[in-house]
C-alpha cells in the first residue's frame, strides 16, 4: 500500500471516528435509551397533554417564524447582493448578529424591550397584549435566532447566478415580478430550500433564547426543548429521552425531506 493511500485511509478513519464520537454515538444512545423501557411507555410519554401541547407549540412557532424569515431573507439577500447604497456592508454584517450573539442575550434583550418594565411593556400591557412569558415572545426569539440562515444560503447563489438572465427576461418583456417569479426564484431555489431546512431545524431546536422569554408554563409556554429540560430536571429521565427522541426524529425528517427534494440531476 502506498504512502498516499495510507494517508487517505488514515484521514477517512479519523474523520469517521470524530463524527462517531461527537454525533453518531450520542444520538444513537438517545434513541437506544428511549426505546429501552419499551415502545408503549415511549408512546405514553410523548402523548401526555403537556407533551402534545409542547409539540403543537413548537410546530406553531416554526410555522410562523420560518415562512416569515424565508420571505424576508430572500428580500434581504436581494438587497445585499443587488442593491447599491451606503451602509450595505454594515447591513451585511448586521445579518450575522444572531449568529454572533448568545441566545440567552437575545432572550434578555427581548425582555428589556417587550417585558413588563421594558420600553414598550406598559403600552403593550395597556393594550392587553402580552409578549414576554407568552407565545408571541417565543415566536420573536425564534425569528431572531433563525434570521441569518436563508440570507446566508441565498446571497452567494444570487451572486453566482448574476444579473444577465434577469436582464434577458426584461428585454423579453417580463415585469420585475414576472422576472423574479420565473427566473430569479427558480435559479436560487436550492439555496432557499437549504436555508428553510436549516431555519426549521434551528427553530425546532432553539432552547436558550426561548427559555428566557417563555416563563416555562407547562401546557402553555413550554416548547419541546423546554419540555425535555423540565423532565430532566424533575428526574423523569425516560420522559426526557422520549421527548429528545421526538426532536431528533423531527430533525432527521427535515434533513430527509431536503435530500428527497434535491434534484437528482444537477443542471449546470
Amino acid at each position: 500500500m502506498s504512502a498516499e493511500r495510507t494517508t487517505r485511509y488514515g484521514l477517512r478513519t479519523l474523520a469517521l471516528a470524530y463524527l462517531g464520537a461527537l454525533l453518531f454515538v450520542p444520538v444513537g444512545l438517545v434513541l437506544y435509551r428511549t426505546f429501552q423501557p419499551g415502545i408503549v411507555e415511549v408512546w405514553a410519554s410523548i402523548t401526555t397533554p403537556a407533551a402534545v401541547h409542547a409539540f403543537q407549540l413548537t410546530m406553531m412557532v416554526t410555522l410562523i417564524a420560518v415562512p416569515l424569515n424565508t420571505v424576508l431573507g430572500i428580500l434581504a439577500a436581494l438587497v445585499i447582493v443587488r442593491g447599491r447604497f451606503r451602509g450595505k456592508a454594515f447591513l451585511d454584517m448586521l445579518i450575522d448578529l444572531p449568529f454572533a450573539i448568545s441566545p440567552i442575550v437575545v432572550g434578555l434583550s427581548l425582555i428589556f424591550v417587550y417585558g413588563r418594565t421594558g420600553w414598550f411593556g406598559s403600552a403593550l400591557a395597556n393594550a392587553g397584549i402580552q409578549i414576554i412569558f407568552s407565545w408571541p415572545g417565543i415566536v420573536l426569539a425564534t425569528i431572531f435566532v433563525t434570521l441569518p440562515f436563508v440570507v446566508r444560503e441565498v446571497a452567494p447563489v444570487l451572486r453566482e447566478v448574476g444579473t444577465e438572465q434577469e436582464q434577458a427576461a426584461a428585454t423579453l418583456g417580463a415585469s420585475s415580478w414576472q422576472t423574479f417569479r420565473r427566473v430569479t426564484l427558480p435559479a436560487i431555489r436550492w439555496g432557499v430550500a437549504y436555508g428553510v431546512v436549516l431555519s426549521t431545524a434551528r427553530a425546532i431546536g432553539e432552547f436558550g433564547a426561548v427559555s428566557v422569554v417563555s416563563g416555562h408554563i407547562a401546557g402553555q409556554t413550554e416548547t419541546l426543548t423546554l419540555l425535555v429540560e423540565q423532565r430532566f430536571q424533575n428526574f423523569n429521565i425516560a420522559g426526557a429521552y422520549a421527548a429528545s427522541a421526538l426532536l431528533a426524529v423531527i430533525a432527521l425528517g427535515t434533513l430527509l425531506a431536503m435530500t428527497l427534494i434535491k434534484p437528482r440531476k444537477e443542471h449546470a
Partner: protein
C-alpha cells in the same frame, strides 16, 4: 430604425460615451466596432434600456424610448454569455417572451417550432442549456430574442465566447439569417473581420465617441483618421504616412519618393508574400506583394530595395474630406 442623439454616459470617473449620435436604418445589419472600453457595449445597452444615459435620446421607429424600461421597448437582446434560462428547456426558453405576452398555447408551440427550425435546433426542444454546446446555446438565445418579433435585434459580442471555427460558421449563418428575417440589427464586436464580413454598415468607436460610420469598404479605403485605419486592417508606417501593406510597392532601383530599405524576412503565405523591411532610420515595416512580384524581384533577406506607396500621401483622408463626411452629422 434606431436614432441616437447626443447620448453621454459616465461611470464614476470614466466617460464611457461622450455626446454620441448615430442612425441605424431600417432593416440594416450594423456593427458597433471598437476596442474594449470604447463604449460600444454601453451604447448598445442604452439602446436596449438596460442602462440609462446621463444625457441624450434614443428613438426607435419614431417613438422616443428614453426612460422607457427595457421590458416595454420591444427589442431582442443577445448576450455574450448567452444568458440562457438554465432551469428551462430549450422550448421553454424560446417560448418565454410569448408566454409573458399570454399568447395562446397552440400559437406559442407553432412559433417555437418554426424558430427552432430557423436556427437549426429542431429536435433539441427538450434539452436543457447545460446539454448544448456554446454555439447551440447562442442560436437558442437568438431564437428566444426573435420569438417576440422585436422591432430591433441587439447583439452584444454574440460570438465572443466561442471557438474560432464555430465563430466563423455562426457569422455566416447570422448573415443568412438576417437575409431571411430582415429585422434591424446592431451587433457589437471588437473583431474587424467579423464586422467587415457580415455587416452593411460599421460605426467605429473610440474613447466613447464614434470615429467614423460607413459601409465596410468605404471605411477600409477611406478611413477618417489613423485610428480607424489601423483598427480596420494591417498598416505599415512609411515616414509620416500610414499605409496598407498592399498599397506599398517594392522596386530594385531608386525612384522618386521611394525610401531605401533592407529586406529582413520574406514570408510566403500562399498567394501572398509578406516582405519585412527595415528602413535606414531603423524603423521596420511590412509590405504585402503577390508571389509573382516577389519572384520577379528575387527577394532575399539582406537585399537592398526601394519602397514607396502606390497612393499619393494623404489621398485617403482628402478623398473623404472632400465629401464633407466628418463635419456632417454622422449617419449610417
Amino acid at each position: 430604425m434606431i436614432s441616437v442623439t447626443g447620448v453621454s454616459k459616465r461611470f464614476g470617473d470614466f466617460q464611457a460615451l461622450d455626446d454620441v449620435s448615430l442612425e441605424v436604418p431600417e432593416g440594416s445589419l450594423t456593427a458597433l466596432l471598437g476596442p474594449s472600453g470604447s463604449g460600444k457595449s454601453t451604447l448598445l445597452r442604452i439602446v436596449a434600456g438596460l442602462e440609462a444615459p446621463d444625457a441624450g435620446d434614443v428613438v426607435i421607429d419614431g417613438r422616443n424610448q428614453t426612460g422607457v424600461p427595457a421590458q416595454r421597448r420591444e427589442i431582442g437582446f443577445v448576450f455574450q454569455h448567452y444568458a440562457a434560462f438554465k432551469h428551462m428547456s430549450v422550448r421553454e426558453n424560446v417560448a418565454f417572451g410569448l408566454k409573458i405576452r399570454k399568447r395562446p398555447k397552440a400559437e406559442i408551440a407553432a412559433r417555437v417550432d418554426e424558430l427552432l427550425g430557423i436556427v437549426g435546433l429542431s429536435g433539441y426542444q427538450d434539452r436543457y442549456p447545460s446539454q448544448l454546446s456554446g454555439g447551440q446555446r447562442q442560436r437558442m438565445a437568438l431564437a428566444r430574442a426573435l420569438a417576440v418579433e422585436p422591432r430591433v435585434l441587439l447583439l452584444d459580442e454574440p460570438f465572443g465566447a466561442l471557438d474560432a471555427n464555430v465563430r466563423a460558421d455562426l457569422r455566416r449563418w447570422l448573415r443568412r439569417l438576417h437575409e431571411e428575417v430582415p429585422v434591424t440589427t446592431v451587433i457589437v464586436t471588437h473583431d474587424q473581420e467579423e464586422a467587415m464580413e457580415i455587416t452593411d454598415r460599421i460605426a467605429v468607436m473610440h474613447d466613447g465617441r464614434i470615429a467614423q460610420v460607413g459601409p465596410p469598404r468605404e471605411l477600409y479605403e477611406q478611413p477618417a483618421d489613423d485610428f480607424v485605419m489601423s483598427f480596420l486592417g494591417p498598416v505599415s508606417r512609411l515616414g509620416e504616412q500610414l499605409v496598407r501593406p498592399h498599397d506599398l510597392r517594392i522596386t530594385a532601383d531608386a525612384r522618386d519618393g521611394a525610401l531605401e530599405a533592407m529586406v529582413t524576412r520574406v514570408v510566403h503565405l500562399g498567394f501572398e508574400v509578406r516582405v519585412e523591411l527595415v528602413l535606414g532610420d531603423g524603423a521596420s515595416l511590412a509590405v504585402q506583394v503577390t508571389r509573382g512580384e516577389a519572384e520577379a524581384l528575387e527577394l532575399r533577406s539582406g537585399d537592398i530595395v526601394w519602397v514607396a506607396s502606390d497612393r499619393p500621401a494623404g489621398e485617403a483622408f482628402t478623398a473623404l474630406r472632400s465629401g464633407g463626411a466628418p463635419d456632417a452629422p454622422l449617419s449610417v
